[in-house]
Symmetry: C2
Subunit: 341 residues, 2 copies
Amino acid sequence: MSKSINTKYIKKSKPSFSVDETVEKLLEGNIDALSRTITLVESTKQEDQDFSNEVVTKCLPNTGNSIRIGITGVPGVGKSTFIESFGNYLITIGKKVAVLAIDPSSQKTGGSILGDKTRMETLVQNPNVYVRPSPSRGSLGGVAKATRESILLCEAAGFDVILVETVGVGQSEISVRGMVDFFLLLMLSGAGDELQGIKRGIMEMADAVVITKADGDNLKLAKNAMLEYKNALHLFPASESEWIPQVAHCSAYENLNIDKVWEIIQSYENKTKLNGFLEKNRISQAQFWLNERINELLIAKFYQDKEAQNDKLQLEEKVKKGIISPFNAAEQLVNKYLKNE
Amino acid sequence: MSKSINTKYIKKSKPSFSVDETVEKLLEGNIDALSRTITLVESTKQEDQDFSNEVVTKCLPNTGNSIRIGITGVPGVGKSTFIESFGNYLITIGKKVAVLAIDPSSQKTGGSILGDKTRMETLVQNPNVYVRPSPSRGSLGGVAKATRESILLCEAAGFDVILVETVGVGQSEISVRGMVDFFLLLMLSGAGDELQGIKRGIMEMADAVVITKADGDNLKLAKNAMLEYKNALHLFPASESEWIPQVAHCSAYENLNIDKVWEIIQSYENKTKLNGFLEKNRISQAQFWLNERINELLIAKFYQDKEAQNDKLQLEEKVKKGIISPFNAAEQLVNKYLKNE
């Protein structure tokens, strides 16, 4: 980080741009520049990381001006359909909407944005919308970094509502919760929580539970489910945000109550801006990621060190043969590694 | 580790012993030497760690000759009472029994061995029994290290059945599962799993479920519960050990079926010694702890480094002010730290 890399250019894409040119284009809302930079953020190459780090840093003064919304729910709940309706609504009231997906196991799942592009057709074509699929590889930590920095870049590019979609697999929700201001849980009516695979922990993270597909015969079921969730949410301890989680139902199909969801998010934003929680929460999120990333890098760099890995292989054999205790071996390895660095 | 510390002596306790003297006494089954060494294993002082590391290493050839049994269950299930009955039974058949407790949050809980010493009176007084309360402080990783090395030291001292008691709090069970050959879950009849706070994950780790307090009016309930648990356990995927988890009931009060529990453990031991799983499992446990401890030490040493902490404080301020991204800051900090080491 110490030496300037302003003179380096993005090689992959033609034409190439310097860091300053990229930042300038980004701040103008240029989608190509945004896409290219996110690609570099997602890259594991050191030069790409260095370049994008500089861009992100230079963009920082122009970030923070959006509401960051995490959206989760099990496959089948209608996430893509909801996001499409919700996104279209936001555009009609003059918003610029970015949709990012986080899915650390995206090789396996079929429900992520990647496969749903066709279902979001109306959104993708709109110039006020930017849809970015999940990075297709990387550790949870790497995906978290890429997503969080993508949020910042989208903000710098002028997007004022950021939707972060997550697949319902537990760890990624917790990760997304640590990046967004507002966490929206989509649920189906008529299926028990168990059936929907939603853990109590996920419910507790939600700022709002929205029951989808509440149309036709489903509407009555949805209203009953609303009451149940309201009761369940009341049992949770009050949050530091002083916000009481809301429950609503909507139908993307009938375009019903989509505005209601935005209303809830707006009142959350107003309340937490007034009581200072929004800002405070963002600061503690940044501290959280600082600590997480330090831990992750300390471990990753040890495993990237060839000599340390050779030493480890040798001592591991001794551990397996019972010649040295694993704890003693670990201490020897780490001490030697840190002395060599 | 590189320089010999054979010349160093245990200072805290009088009289002092060298590493070799300590090992010699330990191998003779001297309880004072065992207790003193476990105290050093639990100590956070570097010299104590160095000393006990040497003792453990020298004891290693004499370890592994016990059956290591993890015992868990929610408070109120009668863990201490069961352990007392079970321990007394084992003594009558000529075993030497060590009882260790693991409880990373022992400040808070009232159900650990520490508070139950009186209830284990008959055990504590027996020369063929060694009861060691949980270390009162330390991280989960630190407690895991202390417990695992205590197991080895007890084996070196001639104990052939090691009981590791854990309080029912999730994380510590997983930790104990990674140290023992056999995992025993104690349950009450008449209370649903939910009520007993036992998560499905804990059930899945069990090699046997034993329903306690199966006497008087409770006996019928216990027999019904047995059937239920048998059915539940059959739903779990087969384990690599080829062992089918067993269900039994017992009464410590009436001294009923305590021998049956030992019979189950014996047949597990026979089966897994024959098919090689016992040894294979111990080797992969050792590898697991090697990796866990490496990760833990890498992080701990960074946080012990004063310069790194100063740098971190400064960059953390910049992160909080939004001048630098937390990911960028983490990379700068870790790179500088590793170069300085």
